[in-house]
């Protein structure tokens, strides 16, 4: 029973990880860009969720499309202004730029919101629901449900729509895609926007069960890398499964061994996959 509880709790947290990492995987798969600013955008999502709730009374579980749209717009703007210039440049330049964007966002957040931490008191998120001897936090269930629904929607979007096909085409071959009439720049901008929106929405969904401050995103950038590698560099589906796997691995490690080793296990998984299965645990050919 306890194992089942740890497993299910792991899945619940993992759902949010899956959403964050899917965004990063999409950006990496299509743009070949390692987005070090991912956690910083997630942080912006938490603040949108916070101010949406405290100033406008918008419940993050309902208002998340708004915050996703806001982050999408911001990311598209960032793409045209900055990211566009390092497309196809060396990894080093890309890392410098995205890390720089992240630092600017964190600094700007500290200036505007202050370094003070925030949390919201959403009664529904702290309610407990029990199934037999299993206990769940309603907040986690909601965050999980919305995250998983969005990951599935993203998958459908990529598989079924014209834009989704264009995105996959660019992921497959950036040089040939424009010859087929695909506007690579536009596709890249939209991809970046979607990837960032995933992180932002995940931030807004984490807020009711967690807290935020301008540096809250850092660990999630790192976690996303691990997940993207687990899932196969650039595979959105792989990242989604990788996120769930990481959530479960963390809770299992905490339950059977010790919470402090959860990160150790994460990085052992990361190294093992890089060494023995560099294409990722779930195969995956990009986007």
């Amino acid at each position: 029973m306890a194992f089942l509880q740890a497993f299910l709790n792991g899945l619940l947290v993992g759902g949010v990880y899956a959403l964050i990492a899917s965004g990063m995987a999409l950006i990496f798969g299509v743009m070949r860009l390692v987005n070090f600013a991912h956690g910083a955008f997630l942080m912006l999502g938490t603040y949108l969720g916070y101010y949406g709730w405290t100033l406008l009374g918008l419940n993050p579980y309902l208002a998340f499309p708004l915050w996703g749209a806001a982050l999408f717009a911001l990311a598209v703007g960032t793409y045209w202004l900055l990211v566009r210039r390092v497309m196809g440049a060396s990894d080093f330049l890309q890392i410098l730029l995205t890390e720089g964007i992240g630092l600017v966002l964190i600094g700007a957040a500290q200036l505007t919101f202050g370094a003070d931490y925030r949390q919201i008191n959403l009664p529904v998120a702290h309610r407990i629901t029990s199934v037999g001897a299993l206990h769940f936090s309603v907040g986690y269930i909601l965050s999980f449900a919305v995250s998983v629904a969005l990951v599935l929607a993203l998958r459908q979007f990529l598989a079924r729509t014209e834009m989704g096909r264009a995105i996959r085409a660019v992921a497959q071959n950036r040089t040939v895609a424009p010859l087929m009439g695909i506007r690579v720049e536009r596709v890249s901008a939209i991809t970046f926007g979607l990837g960032i929106a995933c992180a932002g929405v995940a931030g807004a969904l984490l807020l009711p069960i967690f807290w935020t401050n301008p540096t809250v995103g850092g660990p999630y950038t790192l976690k996303s890398f691990v997940i993207v590698v687990l899932g196969g560099m650039g595979s959105v589906q792989g990242a989604a499964l990788g996120g769930l796997l990481l959530g479960v691995a963390e809770q299992f490690t905490a339950y059977t061994w010790a919470d402090r080793y959860a990160e150790v296990v994460n990085f052992i998984l990361f190294l093992a996959v890089l060494l023995f299965r560099p294409q990722g645990l779930f195969g995956g050919k990009g986007a």
Binding site: A2, A6, D116, Y117, H126, T215, P219, E250, A258, R260
Partner: protein
Amino acid sequence: MHARRLVLAVAVVALAACQQSKPGRIGIITALSGSQQAFGQAHDRGFQLALEEINAAGGVLGKPLEIVKYDDQSKADTAAQGVAKLVDQDKVTALIGSYSSESTKAIVPLVARRGVPLLMPTATADNVLENTQGWSFRLCSGATDYANGMVSFWKDAGTPKSVAIVYENTNFGQANGAAMKKAATEAAIPIVADESYTAKSPSYTAMLQKVKEKSPDAIYFASYLLDATSLMQQSRQVDLNARYFSAAGTGFSTPEFPTEDKGAGKDAEYTFSVTQWMPESKWPGSAQFAEKFKARWGSIPAYHAVQAYTALKVMAEAVKKAGKWDPVAIRDALKATDMPQTTFGPVKFDARGQNLHPVLVTQIQKGKYVIVHPRAEATGEPILPTPKWSER
């Protein structure tokens, strides 16, 4: 173009150098951002009040006292860079800081190497007193005092049959975990769980469930504020019950912790915590300090603020005694400190540089901290056993 830039750069550097190398200042390192910002803010406010009072009373050595602040971002490596910045660039003569034991441990050897005195206001891990080479002094009581204080309260209120120790995997957490292991062993209380965790995680349910399976009679947490909130909320989620939910101060002993919008709210109710100071403490100026603080910032200060406040006053006093801005003279003055009447109680350092400071035990009752131990200072009776989550 290049020449102009070069001239500009040289001018900027020269200007910066002029501004920075002004001797006669005290450097402060604390967590003004990052996950421990709540404590850094308490520090900052304490320093601010002390600075205003010192300067209103004529400053130090005939001049207004100046401090230089450095934000360690709640990270030990950044704190270490702070020593280089404050001492090498800003030429401060003495240092106070940092907030956490992790960051403080990192700066102790660095100040010794540079020969600058350091006063540690809040670091509870006892290893911050190692390798000080006589340059570092600690104002607060340490992890061993915390554990002994809590065990002494337990003995008074009914010795628990078993204890689970849950602590953050950092210098602060490990030190307090180890101190409780030792204290519980000495008191013949069986330790049924010994769990350390990675800070700032969104979910501790698996760990708490593991603790629950051991059915401990008492739980002793060593956590910062954000995790203290998560731990109590998730204890409710996994229905972890114990006679005593108790803690090594810190996150469990801040004005924010019992509030709904910045802490665990109702889930914080009944928790016991060690603390180093309360507005009700009998030391002179305690109530006034709390009032002044509340009038200015709207909340009752925790001990972290008064430790910072007192630290700056002690340091200023040492500079006055030394009679000059000289690190060796200030260090020697600190060694000879004897201030029986500070807001934080008597201050006098032993041979290790430790100020002998007593601890109190509080319980949160109806959202307020009530002193329940030692008896002589109690402002209320402990509520025991802690009601089960299902009965709250």
